[in-house]
Structure formats: structure tokens, C-alpha cells
């Protein structure tokens, strides 16, 4: 697909990456906040990457900019080989629709559409015709997330965990280059959370998809192949094969450090 970037440690090509990403909120010099302060990171294809960091570390901003929901003040963001910076709103929208999947913390589903329609939504928006291949793929997805008997239900008739599973199915339905998940378990009890994380993990390991997840929960981060740590808008560490305990220890170290720094950038 894309050429490997030699700078990265991983041998797989990056499904998404940012280079020297800077995001400044506010315009005047005294109110300006640097949410991202020169971050360069790649998210390798076929891998499950978690972004962690304390509140205000810039992890959500990083995800939003990498996914084309927000624009960088300077630096560049790529989905595959496509640089997002020069794209106008329309092209960005089409790129999100065709090449990116999303799972948000809450309110992932359109309440007027059924489960099946929610899953198909990005493809319907694209006006894509469903070939046999796509049909088989979505069919398999529906079985994986275990919602076959709920296809004609409305989101309001589902539990929170079920709704998130539909969101996961929707995110992968179009076989996007990368799926971004923003605190996907933030609103769920631990059992439902486990289920959703398990689904994300299976999608990467069994189906070869790419997931980038923002979380503040070390247990959630432990499902990832790799964790990148952000603090004060900077990339401060990466951890391969994380466990909940290791991640928690690392976070505690940051907490001690950030106590000396001032609270600032929004998350």
C-alpha cells in the first residue's frame, strides 16, 4: 500500500501519522494554548495503538488532527500517503467517509436509523453499491459484534454496551485504512467495556485492521499492541506490549512530574 517510513521502528507502513504537529488554541499571545507542541508519531497499519496521557496532555487533539476532524496549526498529518493539510472541507469529509472509521465516547448512532442502517451509514452516504464482497464483510462483522437479532432495532432500544458495539461495527464496515476510537469505553460499565475492547482487538489481530484509541484507562490501554504517552502536548514515551500495571506506573510518574507544571491545554 504505502511505502514504509524508515524513521519508524515498526516495519509495517503507517496507516496514519503526524509530523511536527503543532496545534495552538486561541489567537492572542497571552491566551494561546499549545495543545500539541511538535509531535511526530506514526500509527502502523495492522496494529492497535493506544494514546495515553493525563488530562490536558493533548491526546484527544492529536487524535482529532490525525483523523481529519481538526486542522493543525503547523506540521502535517497523513492518512496513508494523503496529506490532510491541503484538503478542503469537502475532501476531508470524503476522506473520513471512505478511509477512516470512528468510535466516540457517546452518541455514536443516529437515533432515527436502525442498527443495520447505522452500520451502513458511511457507505450509504457515499452512495456506494454493495458488492458481494462488502455484503459478506458486513455480514461477518455483524456476527462478530453479536447483533444479528438487533438489526432492525433503533439505538434507543439498545443498552449502552450494545450501542458501542454497533458503533464498532459501523467503524469497520467500510474497511477503512484506520479506525479512531475516542474513549470508547468511557461511558460503559467494565463488562461492556471489556467486550468493546475485545472487539477492537479482534478486528486488528484477526482481520488485519488498524485501530488508534485515545483512553485514560490503563486497563483499556493494555488491550493495545503499543501505547504512546503524551504530556503537555509532547510525545514523551512509547511502550510496546503494555500491561495495565506497567501503564499505571508510567502514568504515576507523569503525575508527579506534571504537579510541578501548570494545568493548561485542553485534552
Amino acid at each position: 500500500m504505502s511505502t514504509a517510513t524508515p524513521r519508524q521502528r515498526s516495519t509495517a507502513p503507517d496507516a496514519a501519522r503526524v509530523e511536527s504537529a503543532v496545534k495552538v488554541y486561541g489567537s492572542s499571545s497571552d491566551t494561546a494554548v499549545r495543545a500539541l507542541d511538535g509531535v511526530s508519531v506514526g500509527f502502523p497499519a495492522g496494529r492497535f495503538t493506544a494514546i495515553m496521557g493525563p488530562s490536558g496532555s493533548g491526546k484527544s487533539t492529536l487524535m482529532h488532527c490525525a483523523a481529519g476532524l481538526d486542522t493543525l496549526t503547523s506540521g502535517s498529518a497523513y492518512i496513508g500517503d494523503t496529506e490532510l493539510g491541503p484538503l478542503d472541507d469537502r475532501r476531508l469529509t470524503l476522506l473520513r467517509r471512505d478511509r477512516v472509521g470512528f468510535v466516540f465516547q457517546a452518541f455514536n448512532l443516529v437515533p432515527t436509523l436502525t442498527v443495520a442502517e447505522n452500520i451502513r451509514l458511511p457507505m450509504d452516504l457515499a452512495g456506494r453499491r454493495f458488492d458481494r464482497d462488502t455484503l459478506e464483510w458486513t455480514d461477518a462483522l455483524i456476527d462478530v459484534v453479536g447483533l444479528r437479532d438487533r438489526l432492525c432495532h433503533r439505538p434507543a432500544e439498545l443498552s449502552g454496551g450494545q450501542q458501542q458495539r454497533v458503533a464498532v461495527a459501523r467503524a469497520f464496515a467500510g474497511r477503512p485504512d484506520v479506525v479512531f476510537a475516542d474513549e470508547p469505553t468511557g461511558n460503559l460499565d467494565s463488562r461492556s467495556g471489556e467486550e468493546v475492547l475485545g472487539l477492537l482487538g479482534r478486528a486488528v489481530r484477526e482481520m488485519g485492521r488498524t485501530v488508534v484509541m485515545v483512553t485514560h484507562d490503563p486497563v483499556a490501554a493494555a488491550h493495545a499492541d503499543e501505547v504512546v504517552f503524551l504530556a503537555d502536548g509532547r510525545l514523551v514515551d512509547r511502550m510496546a506490549a503494555p500491561t495495565a500495571d506497567k501503564v499505571l506506573d508510567r502514568l504515576k510518574a507523569f503525575d508527579a512530574r506534571s504537579a510541578t507544571n501548570s494545568e493548561g491545554a485542553p485534552s
Binding site: 469537502r90 467517509r97 471512505d98 470512528f102 443516529v110 432515527t112 442502517e117 450509504d124 452512495g127 459501523r170
Partner: protein, 883 residues
Amino acid sequence: MSATGPRDAAGPGSPTGPRGPARPGAPTGSLAAALRISLTSLRGHKRRFAGTFFAVLLGVAFLAGTLVMGDTLRASFDTMFGNATRGTDAVVRGADTITTPGESQGVRRNIDTALVDRIEKVPGVAAAVPAIQGAGQLIGKDGDPIGGQGPPTLAGNWITDTELNAYRLAEGRAPARSGEVVVNRGAAESGDLKIGDTTTLRTPDPVKVTIVGLATFGGEDGMAQTTFTGMTRADAEKYLMPKPGEAATVQVRAGPGTSQQELVDALTPVLPKGVEAITGQEAAEENSDMISGQFLTLFTTFLLVFSGIALLVATFSIHNTFAIVVAQRTRENALLRALGASRRQVTAATLAEASVVAVVASVAGLAGGIGIAAGLQALFPAIGFPFPEGDLVISGTSMLLPLAVGVAVCVASALLPAVRAGRTAPLAALRETAVDHSGASRARAAVGTGIAVAAVALTLVGVLASPSIWLAGGGAVLALAAFVVLGPVASSRAVRILGGPLDRLRGVTGSLARRNALRSPKRTAATASALMIGVAVVCLFTVFGASLKATMDQTVSRSFAGDVAVSTPSFGAGGSGLSPRLAPAVGERPEVATAVGLGRGVAEVNGQGRALTVTDPVALAKSFDLGTVDGSLGDLGDDGIALTRAEADKQHLTVGDKAELAFTDGKKDTFTVRAVYGQSELAGDYVITRDAWAPHRGQDSDTLVAVTFKDGVSAADGKAAVSAVAKEYGNPEVQTRDEYAQSAAGGIDMMLTLVYALLALAVLIALLGIANTLTLAVHERTRELGLLRAVGQTRGQLRAMVRWESVLVAAFGTAGGLALGGFLGWVLVKASDGASDSVFAFALPPTQLAVVALVGLAAGALAGLRPARRAARLDVLRAIAAE
């Protein structure tokens, strides 16, 4: 309004929770708190009330504008007539009038000019002059007649005693020789005539006249749009009176020291029976009343009805806005309740909010209304309608009434939502989102169906079984109520059907639009109801107008057997008719088999005023289908009449019976019924010969000449021959049967255009309502829109989604309006049919109704533009994060 009030009432710190301050005891305090809450929330959400504000403003402005304009016109006309007739102290005229059904002004007998000598000898009389008045229509420079579309076209003698003449010479001189005339300046201008020009005056015989002077009336260019031609007395007697020595009235001026009443008292004893004297002031008031009392009242009532419709439509929009705002604010209100606000306080807060919007919008509306009146005052003269000068008359009523109506409409519309706000359970604060109550409840369906059944039953009885306009009207009102009650029940199904094609046409965008419109049946129905009422009224008038046209068409094609009709297209009191000599002249042409002229007379038949058709009965039967005739139309002579079967039944007359006819000249004669005929259309209810009418007639004229060609004469040849003759008689219009039917319906189109223009306001308010509801909905769905944008909905798709939702709501309203309007139109036509003798035809004009439907849909798309643009401008990230 002490500072302790709010503290008592709100009591957020109360440890006893909601119960503690529930009885504030001090109503002023609770109101102050309510007002404070509402003002704060108003400031915070000004945009939400923009739609309400404009709906009230427009309705109130229209209402106030109508009232101010009416008052101003009325005062101006009073002044104008007062000025014009200031020098006339008494008017002597025929005492009795004969009024025929459907006419407001009676016909008065002429008086003998010999009376003038006798009046002049009465002590206290300074001067007395006969005033001759009749119909006379001038032909403009371009060959077209001047005026005639409503206001009268008058001619008379130019009264040389300037104080007794209502007209003043503004330029030129008075007529001195036969053929010289003075015309009012307004008429001269609209006909592009100047002093020295020679033109034709139809009296109705064409008279060559030369304009020697221009006149004004009460300082204006004319008495509204009435035209006036002043001739020499000899000319006026010759052309306007049946015989010399007659006049319409005698104008009398009092000598010094004699009051108007004293003058009338002195005159009365010398007047013969059947002649009366009234003071000049009374005469002026009668004249002014004729315009302001009848024309203006009709005009303002007409406008008031339409401002009523606009305000009714506004009620729905306003109610909807408050219902949505209250629903959106459920959590806020629940929090207030949890913190100890009483139900009353929450209700009062919402009502206070409505009141503030109402008062501000109504006051703005008053200013707008005065602006409209001032604008019209400036505009009218520019379009050739002399609007008498004078300041705007702004009375207390014309300000207080619209203000009260505006505030009442707004507050009453907000009442239910406010009560609902008060009922918010404190627990609702904890719920995730406000759940919309489903409008499609079984109870609603049952009640609505009940009303609908009652409406149809009442209407059918009122229309078919025992014709009564009241029963039918009651049914119509119930039908409207049924539509409003059933709206939410019907909206789901209707939107599903109407939006069906959207899925296929617009894919997921269309599907989303359709489902958004389905989300809250109650809201969709309320939004659509406003448009529905507007469209229903448009449709009602369209159907009624088309039915009237079809009726005329049917009338002409059923009863007019001739080839061409000659008439002067006129409307209302205008025009001067056709020369009675035209029909004989046309009849002499070789192409023509028969030419029959129909004149109009009035008489009291056994004490009731009736219109008579003055004609040659035998020729009449050749050109018109009179149905079955009992007796013989050839035997009428000068002491016989013929009448329709319906009228004969009403008067209990049959062939051979005697009837007493009293004429305007005071004479009474006994006539014998010689024939009874079946159809009255065009030929009228009574037929009398010219010989019988001649002794009693006034100014002689025909209203229609019906011509039948000889066999073998082509339509074009025949028409050309008739036109050639008509040219010599003031050039009236020669029309084929179809053309005649169409021109008879011409007035209807003019009326419909005016009605459409006035209804545009109601439709505009309905559209503001749709736009407002959508804006509120977009606000409500911020997160959802953000999600859609995040997963790949383009701005264009988002805009289309909102626009299509708007179109769907509009389509539902339009469809409902067409159904309701069609039904009401049918009721109106059938009820009119049952209530009158003439047969009404019912017609649904497919083209016009299709246009109405398209306009409704296009309007929906238009209403969706702004909300769609606002929705598309949403920032994706912020929308996702929105609470």
C-alpha cells in the same frame, strides 16, 4: 417587588428540598422571580424567538395598518365631501327609492324642474338650481373608455352657481355651447385628455364633446375614482333625462341668517307628494357614507378577515416555538423545580417570556402598521387612486386593538406549553434527554375522527338535505378542527407516503430527512398546520373562483343561443351601457337574423323591489333559451309581464293573474302575467316590453345586445359586420359566446389576484414557522449532526437533508391544505347553490391547484434554506462535544 421576594421564592439553599419554599406566600415575590428567570433566558436565546417575534409583528402591523388606513380614508372622505358641498344648504329630491335585492343603492324618481320656480319664491332661499345626473362614460385619447371598473362614471349639467356646484373649475371655462364639457381632472389625466380635445361621451348614445374646462372635487382631482362630465343644462336634459324638464335633484342655497334646518322646514310645505328636502349636511353625510360606510367598511372588513387568517396561522407557529423551547428546556426547568421553584413560578416564567416577546413584537407591529398606512397614503396617488390629503388618523382603538390582539395571540399560544413547563417533574433533570411525547395517541385519533365525522355529517346535512349556510359553515369550522386534531396522527403516515420517493431519489440523505420529519409527529403537525391553513384558504378561493367561472360559463352556454354578444365591459356601478338604438341598427345588417337589446328597469312588484329586463320578448326567445314557456311571450303588449317559474311560485302568480307594479316615477299600474318561462339566467326574472317601460324610464340604455346570424354567415364575417355598426355607437365590445363568458368572469380573476396577494402574508408567517421549527430542531440535534459530519456526511448532503425535511413538512401542510380547502370550497359552492336560486357549478381547477401545490413545496424548500445553511456551518468537533 422587594429584594426579599426572589430569595424567598428560589431558596436554593433550603435544606428541606423542593418542599421547603413551595408556598412562597408572596405572589409579588414569586412573580418577580419568574420574570427574572424569563428575562435571563430571553436574553440568552433571542434567536429562538425571532420567528415568534416576526409572526406577531407582521400580524399586528397588518391589523394596525388596516385600521389606521380605514380611519384616515374615512376622515379624508368626510372632509372632502364637507368641502365640496359646503355651499349647498338643502337638497330637494324624490322621497322614495326602489331597491332591488343585492343592490345597496336604491333608484330615486326624478323631479320636475318647474319646481325650481316655486322653490325660489320660498322665503330664505337665495338660489335654487336643478341638478341633472346620469351615467356618461368618456372615451380616452387611446380609444378606450375611462374608468368603469367599479366606481361610477357620472355625467350631469355643469351648475354655474359656483357655491351650489360640488365641482370647482380648476382650469379653462364652463361649458357655454352644446357639445362643450368640463371633466374632472383625474378623469382627464387617466384618459390623457386636455382642454381643447374632442372626444366621445357614451350616454350611452355617443355624443361628440369638446373639453373646455377641468374641475376638482373638494380640492382633489376627483371624488375618489369616480369620473364626472359636466355639460350644458340643455345637453344634460337631452342626453341624460328621459324627457326635458326633469332633474335628479334641486340644490338650494339659503339666504343670510337662514339655517339649513330652517330652510328645509320652509321648503317642505311647498313640495308635492313624493318629493322631500334634506339639509346640505345630511346630503354630504349620505354621500360620504356611501363611500366610507359601504365601500370602505367592505374594504376594511375584507382586510381584517385576512389579518385574522394571518394571526390564526401565527398562533400555530408561536405555539410550536414555545412547545419546542419548553421541551428543550426540560432539564433546566426540572432543575428549577428540584431547587424549589413552584409549578406556578415555572409556568409564570414561561408566560412572562411570552408576554415580553408579545409586547415588544406588538409595539414594533404598531409602528409597522403606521408605516404601512403612511406608505399606502404615499403610494395610492402614484397608482392613480387619489388618496385625499390629510394627516394619518391614529385613534386609540386602532392602536389598542392590534396591541391587545397581538399580546393575546402570543400569550394564549404559549399557555399550553407554559402549563406543561410547570408540570415538569424535578426528576426530569436526571434523565438523559427530554423524550418527546408521541402525538399519535389513540385518544387523539378517536376524538379527531369523532370531530371529522360530525363535520362531514353536519356539512352534508347543511349542503344536501336541508340547505343552510349556517349548518354548512359549522361543518366547515369543525372540519378545520378535525384537521388540526388529527394532524399529529396523520403526519406520520403522510410523511411516510410523501417521503417515500425520497429514499429512492436522494438515498440516505432523503431517508434521514424523512425520518427527521417523522421524529415528533406533534411538532411536524403543528408546523405544517400553519401552512395548511394558509394553503387551505388559498385553495378555497381558487376552487370558489373556478366554480364561479364555471357557473358563468355554464350560464352563457346554456341560455345564450346567439352568435355574438355586444356589451360594455364594466364592473360595479361604472359604465353607461349601450345605446338602445344599437340593436335595431345591427338588426338591419344583411348578415344578422335577430339582434335583441336587453335593458334594465326597476319596479316594485306587489311591494317588493325587482329588476326588470326591458326588451322585445319575441326576439329574446330567439337568442336565449328560456326553457318551457307557459302562455305567450308575444302577447305582453304594454300591460303584460313575463316572469320565471321560480319567481312566479314565490309570488303565487300564474298566467292570467294580475300584479301591481309601482315605478320610480310614483305611478302604479296593474299588469297581467302573460307568460311564465323556465330559465332566468341572463334573461332575468321579469321581462317587460319597451312600450310598457317607456313612460316610466330614466336614462335609456341597454346592458347587452344579443345577435344571431343568418344561416350561412361565417362567424368572422358576422362579427366584422356587427363590429362595424358598433363602432358608430361608442365602440362597445363585440364578443363571441366564449369570449363573452370569459369576460363575464374577468372580475373574478381580479378579485383572486387581490386575495392571493393578501394571503401571501399568512403563507409567509407559516414559512417563518417552518424555518423557526427547523432552526430549533437543528440546535437540538447538534451532536447528531456533528456525528453525521464526522462519519462522512458532506456539507451539501447535510444541507440537502435539512432542506428536504422542510420540503416534507411543507408537503404535508400543502397536501392537508389542498384537501381541506377543496372540501371547504365544495361546501361553499354547494351552500351557495342551495341558498340562492341560481345554479352553481362546482369546479376543481387542476392547473391552478397544481401551481398552489408547487408553490407550497417551493416555499418549503425556501424556508429550509437558512436553517440548512446554519446547520452546515456547525463545527464538527464542537458539535460532537456539545451538551
